[in-house]
């Protein structure tokens, strides 16, 4: 059985222009907001989209397993400030109104369409120290917009573990067993300010293994405020005991240890070593296709290839972030793989095949409908 996604003609005609504009500075971004709003209100024309990416004459399906939803109200004030820095101060008051056009399920689908991406994983977040909340309930509602293309990753609060741990574990298990189209678990130790080597959190991995829901864990650092950058919170080497103790649990090391704060591959070799050593460890390259990672991307894909772990890398972008980001991340990452000499079959595996295999889903193929 193949998982063929028929793209509705939903390309966002503003995205390419928007991305170019956004990279041009805050004033241009403000202009983008006005233009974007006008375009959405006007319902201006939509162009057909070619699904997948074209590599050596073959069109490959793409799944982006790392996407975020959220609401302005559930973001922390510091994260709101960080987002608002992209807009001239006089226009920051528009951010609550603009956020749904960037982070809602509809907005995610628009970006997927624009990038030719067949499907995506949408993450719940419980990070009150750093970025804020995107509850399991919110994620379930957003992925319900198109459950053939959007898959949820459930999460849980850990900030009051000594007093709330059992009830949080129960809530996570209920979400994973419920009707919310959750295919995995999302954790972000650096954002949630918990150590990788703290065994009090191992029951999360037990639940994930028992329910056969892979666990995605943010590894490496982040430029977001309130994120820990020390090795016990960022270096996946501190997960090794858990990885050994829970062989039935699949650990997907998000960002492959990319030290985004320092723009360096500080913890990448740790992640690659774990993926090469343990059959239950996989890698995800989120944010390594961003412009911010231009200085390390080629080195990164070369390291993955040299270590023989291409079969364990599952593509994700960490979008949608800004208009056009999902597409530009994909284009840069594919270009990096090509430059590093990945074969078409290897790229097919990274872009969707490994995802389908790990999550037990039918292979994705590309198809176009009017």
């Amino acid at each position: 059985m193949l998982h063929t996604v028929n793209f509705q003609a939903g390309s966002d005609p503003m995205s390419k222009r928007a991305e170019a504009t956004a990279s041009g500075g805050p004033r241009r971004f403000a202009f983008l907001l006005l233009v974007l709003a006008a375009a959405l209100l006007a319902g201006c024309g939509r162009a057909p989209v070619q699904p997948g990416v074209l590599v050596d004459g073959q069109r490959l399906a793409v799944v982006d397993m790392h996407l975020h939803t959220g609401t302005w109200e559930a973001m922390t004030p510091r994260f709101q400030e960080r987002l608002a820095e992209r807009v001239p101060r006089a226009f920051r008051w528009v951010m609550p109104y603009v956020t749904p056009y960037l982070l809602s399920g509809k907005a995610i689908l628009r970006q997927l369409n624009n990038a030719g991406v067949s499907a995506g994983g949408v993450f719940a977040l419980y990070s009150p120290h750093s970025t804020g909340m995107a509850s399991n309930e919110l994620v379930a509602a957003e992925v319900a917009l198109d459950p053939q293309r959007l898959f949820g990753f459930a999460s849980l609060r850990v900030d009051q573990w000594s007093t709330q741990g059992p009830e949080q574990l129960a809530a996570l298990e209920a979400a994973l067993k419920g009707p919310g189209n959750f295919i995995g678990v999302k954790m972000a130790h650096a954002h949630q300010q918990i150590r990788f080597d703290d065994e009090r959190y191992y029951p999360i991995y037990e639940i994930a293994g028992r329910l056969k829901k892979p666990v995605y864990l943010h590894t490496g650092t982040s430029p977001n405020p309130g994120t820990r950058t020390e090795p016990p919170y960022a270096d996946p080497a501190y997960l090794e005991v858990a990885i050994r103790n829970y062989p039935d649990t699949i650990f997907i090391l998000g960002h492959t240890g990319y030290d985004s704060f320092a723009k360096a591959l500080t913890f990448t070799d740790s992640a690659i070593r774990l993926a090469a050593t343990y059959p239950n460890v996989y890698l995800e390259p989120g944010a390594l296709g961003a412009k911010r990672a231009d200085n390390v991307r080629l080195d990164f894909v070369q390291r993955v290839k040299a270590a023989g772990v291409i079969s364990k890398m599952i593509y994700g972008s960490d979008g949608p972030q800004t208009p056009g980001y999902v597409k530009s991340h994909l284009e840069r990452f594919v270009a990096g793989m090509q430059e590093a000499g990945y074969t078409v079959d290897e790229m097919r595996a990274v872009l969707s095949g490994n995802f389908s295999r790990v999550f037990g889903l039918p292979p994705f193929t590309v198809g176009v409908s009017g």
Binding site: L34, A74, T76, P77, P88, R89, A90, F91, R92, W93, V94, P128, H129, G132, M133, S135, V158, D159, Q160, W161, S162, T163, Q193, I194, R195, D197, D198, R200, G226, E230, P231, P232, Y233, A237, Y238, E240, V241
Partner: protein, 160 residues
């Protein structure tokens, strides 16, 4: 009819939009209130622990921050280095960002600059909530007793 006015209509409209939409955000943001606080006290290790030359890393936190679903413990204020024994430190406490004061510390017994690695797990940590706060001067004793633990291991306490 003035042709040039018609030609410039979009620009005029855009300029008007910029002025109208931009005006609400032009007032300066007020500075967040801060209280200057001196924290002093004793950082204590188990008897017999060799401490010569070892650094202690101290982090100060709000006990609780934000409201509603975002309310959470242990919001970092700042960190500094000291040594085992007595210490004094001056800092600015951001009053609007949370309430309470917690001091967490760990001692770098193996001298590698990291609070435990997977092969060296001897660094000790501890945490104390400052009882008499808010105040301009506070005193705390921090007992470093647990190996390889972050502040969330200690707080909120289990009995809470």
């Amino acid at each position: 009819m003035n042709i040039s006015a018609l030609t410039n209509a979009p620009a005029t409209l855009l300029a008007t939009l910029v002025v109208v939409l931009g005006t609400p955000g032009c007032s300066p943001e007020p500075a967040a209130p801060k209280r200057s606080v001196e924290i002093s006290g004793e950082i204590r290790l188990p008897a017999g622990t060799e401490v010569s030359g070892n650094k202690v890393y101290v982090s100060l936190f709000h006990a609780w921050a934000l409201q509603g679903e975002l309310r959470h413990p242990l919001q970092l204020i700042e960190s500094f280095e000291t040594a085992p024994g007595s210490f004094v430190h001056q800092f600015e406490y951001p009053e609007a960002d949370g309430e309470g004061l917690i001091a967490f510390a760990w001692v770098d017994l193996d001298g590698d600059g990291v609070d435990c690695t997977m092969t060296s797990r001897i660094d000790l940590s501890g945490l104390t909530e400052v009882a008499s706060f808010p105040a301009d001067r506070v005193s705390v004793n921090i007992d470093l007793t647990e190996a390889c633990r972050g502040p969330d291991w200690f707080y909120p306490p289990r009995s809470r």
